[in-house]
Amino acid sequence: MRSFLSATVVSCALVLAACGSGGGGAVEDEVNADGKVILEVAMDAGLEQNAVDAFEARVAQFEKAHPDVDVRPQEYTWTAATFTSQLAGGTIPDVFTVPFTDGRGLIERGQIADVSTLVAKLPYAKSFNPNVARAGQAIDGKQWAVPIAAYAQALHYNRTLFTQAGLDPDDPPSTWAEVRSAARQITARTGQAGYAQMTTDNTGGWILATADYAYGGRLEILKGDKATATIDTDQMADVLTLVRSMRWDDGSMGANFLYDWAGINQDFAAGRIGMYVSGGGNYGNLVTQNALKPADYGVTVLPLADDRDAGVLGGGTLAVVSPKTGEKTRAAAVQWIDFFYLGKLTDKAAAVLNAKTQAESGQPVGTPDLPVLDRATWDAQQKWIAQYVNVPVDQLKPYTSRMFDQPLLPEPARSTQDVYKILDNVVQTVLTDRNADIPSLLADAQSQAQALLDRG
């Protein structure tokens, strides 16, 4: 009986091992009963009914223009655990979206399809904003993923807290020294945190990188195939010293430091934070999820140091194609990306429909973003949606009037998330340990990051 059982166990193991995970070889196109190519596309989860209807309407339009394709929407949200499992199981939609930060890693590991030849055939393939396009490119410059939305980092501030603290909400800080003194004043007069920063879930590294770039530093230098970490630099030390002074000398950073993207938005909307750095389009989440009072909101450009390398970190969204797709599916996928995602930017009817749907669902229309293609296209798109804009445009002026003046920089190319994670630890230490030794923290982070880059 024992040997019988052990035999069963062993044979099960062999069978399962033989199955392994994934297989090589060419992938077949999925075809439905009528011989049409099946294309599974991602649709945002949790949409209101009118948004779902609008999506279905677009699907119908596409199928009419491409009668050999059967589009099937599939609800999809980008999260680490579900993405990984679905990738392994092959149940990921054929077309889905990922943030810029994760795009490079997916390309490096070959976890998305190389559709660069198909993308190159799109009419505007050459007019992509170069800094934005870089996020979706492989090392050799081939465009594996298509950028569909772009933004830059900005400094968000609470106009009401500014007024209460005796600061002018129409004249927000334009240097880091001004940020520090404004934060001090806000804390002194209102008791709320003057400045706060994200620190967990890799956002700590993201914001630290943003500040570092604003001072003229970089996280990595690429020379051909070799990547060198440049974390232990004067600029990064300056950033951390500023953070440390605000936290421990001025006491202007409040009492809560474990912020991720959603948490800091929540506290800002609750009026507990005077200023913080995040993506330029944050207004949407602040209002929709956290019921921010629109009158409280202000945003301005990120202060840049007087350094010729200083620039503002950009981010955005990429549309990618699953690796487990056949030739015809990939062609259809790129067509869909062109039609659905880029259509909102290039086609008037699509842009108007999108804006109208959003406005009707109570979503904000007109939050600041950056051109994915060229400036002329972006200007045209702004004009088309002008009648649906429902954000407080005047309050956004400090940002929108100057956002094109700042150099836009792409995120570090290699092992981005892993490097951010290392920096998370650095900023958390500075914020929670009074005796944090910044030079040794930076040296340590530098060697860890270098080991990472050498491995990858």
Partner: protein
């Protein structure tokens, strides 16, 4: 009259005589009810086989592979294990996990027991007490995390800090400081799990025969002595089992650090399971899955050895 039974002389022969053994062939097995036993075990074997043992074996295979979860995996021998041991975070995670387990033991082990003893003495409204104690266990993690995040707000107006302020104590840092983060997590974890253990103790207490208490009272024992000399010894088996179950459970703590602190501040709450999650999903998006399975196997091996030692050592203490 006793009949004397003379011992039979034992015949020793040069060759060891083997009595013919009855072969346990298939027919005896069938007749002995072997088939029906197997039928009864088949739901367990099928369900565990496909959904527990199978994946475990598959993860063992994956621990010696390198994969990106898309193309076929490559065999890399013990590289994943070496990489795990070379990770400086590993020892931080082990230390944190041990710290969590110790704190959880200090807080979460006696509290349900004391509460159960007190509740078992309640006349009448025992159900109310038990239901209140079990209520936190019923609460979904999504709700619990949301609530406790508000409770743990470190500003002076956070829920707990307001209460502390009302009794004159200064605002505590809770999750924001490396020293107080882990104890805060233990507090929430105990809240969420103590009810279940308490129910088990309540049942065990009810099973203690009253005659033992009566006998102790005849000997003049006070309440405290009765608890020490009658109640606790009778609970010995349950206590031993819940102890090891708690160790195994807390060694695998994941949800609390993941949902509350993400392993911070500055890796103060990074546990072994969090490290496994990070390897498997977070940063590499599946690229380091081999490392994740390698670390899981190491953890499983440690727990298995610990449990084996534990059972051997406590065999003399337990009564079964």
């Amino acid at each position: 009259m006793a009949v004397k039974i003379l011992p039979r002389p034992v015949r020793t022969t040069a060759v060891r005589a083997r009595a013919p053994r009855r072969r346990r062939g298939p027919r005896t097995w069938l007749r002995g009810g072997g088939l029906s036993t197997l039928v009864f075990l088949s739901p367990l074997l099928v369900v565990f086989g496909f959904f527990s043992w199978g994946p475990i074996i598959q993860s063992v295979v994956m621990s010696v592979q390198e994969t990106n979860l898309v193309t076929a995996a490559t065999f890399v021998g013990l590289d994943n294990f070496a990489a795990v041991f070379a990770d400086p975070l590993l020892w931080t995670a082990v230390r944190n996990t041990l710290w969590f387990a110790l704190l959880a033991l200090l807080l979460g082990y006696p509290v349900p027991l004391v509460a159960a003893v007190l509740i078992s003495e309640v006349r009448g409204r025992r159900g109310l007490f038990a239901a209140l104690a079990y209520l936190p266990v019923v609460v979904p993690p999504v709700v619990a995390v949301l609530l406790w995040k508000f409770f743990f707000d470190a500003g002076p107006h956070g829920v707990f800090n307001t209460i502390l302020g009302a009794v004159g104590l200064g605002p505590a840092q809770w999750l924001q400081d490396a020293d107080s983060a882990m104890p805060s997590l233990v507090l929430e974890a105990t809240w969420a799990a103590a009810g279940g253990t308490m129910i088990i103790y309540l049942a065990a207490l009810a099973a203690v025969p009253p005659e033992l208490y009566e006998a102790a009272e005849i000997d003049g024992a006070s309440v405290w002595r009765k608890v020490w000399h009658v109640t606790l010894p009778n609970l010995r088996n349950v206590l031993l089992v819940t102890f090891i179950l708690q160790i195994i459970g807390t060694a695998q703590v994941f949800l609390e650090p993941f949902l509350f602190t993400g392993g911070g501040p500055a890796h103060a709450t990074t546990t072994v399971l969090l490290l496994i999650y990070d390897y498997a999903f977070a940063d590499s998006l599946g690229g380091d899955y081999g490392r994740a399975t390698a670390l899981s196997l190491l953890l499983a091996a440690v727990l298995a050895v610990f449990s084996a030692v534990y059972f051997r050592v406590t065999r003399s203490w337990s009564t079964s």
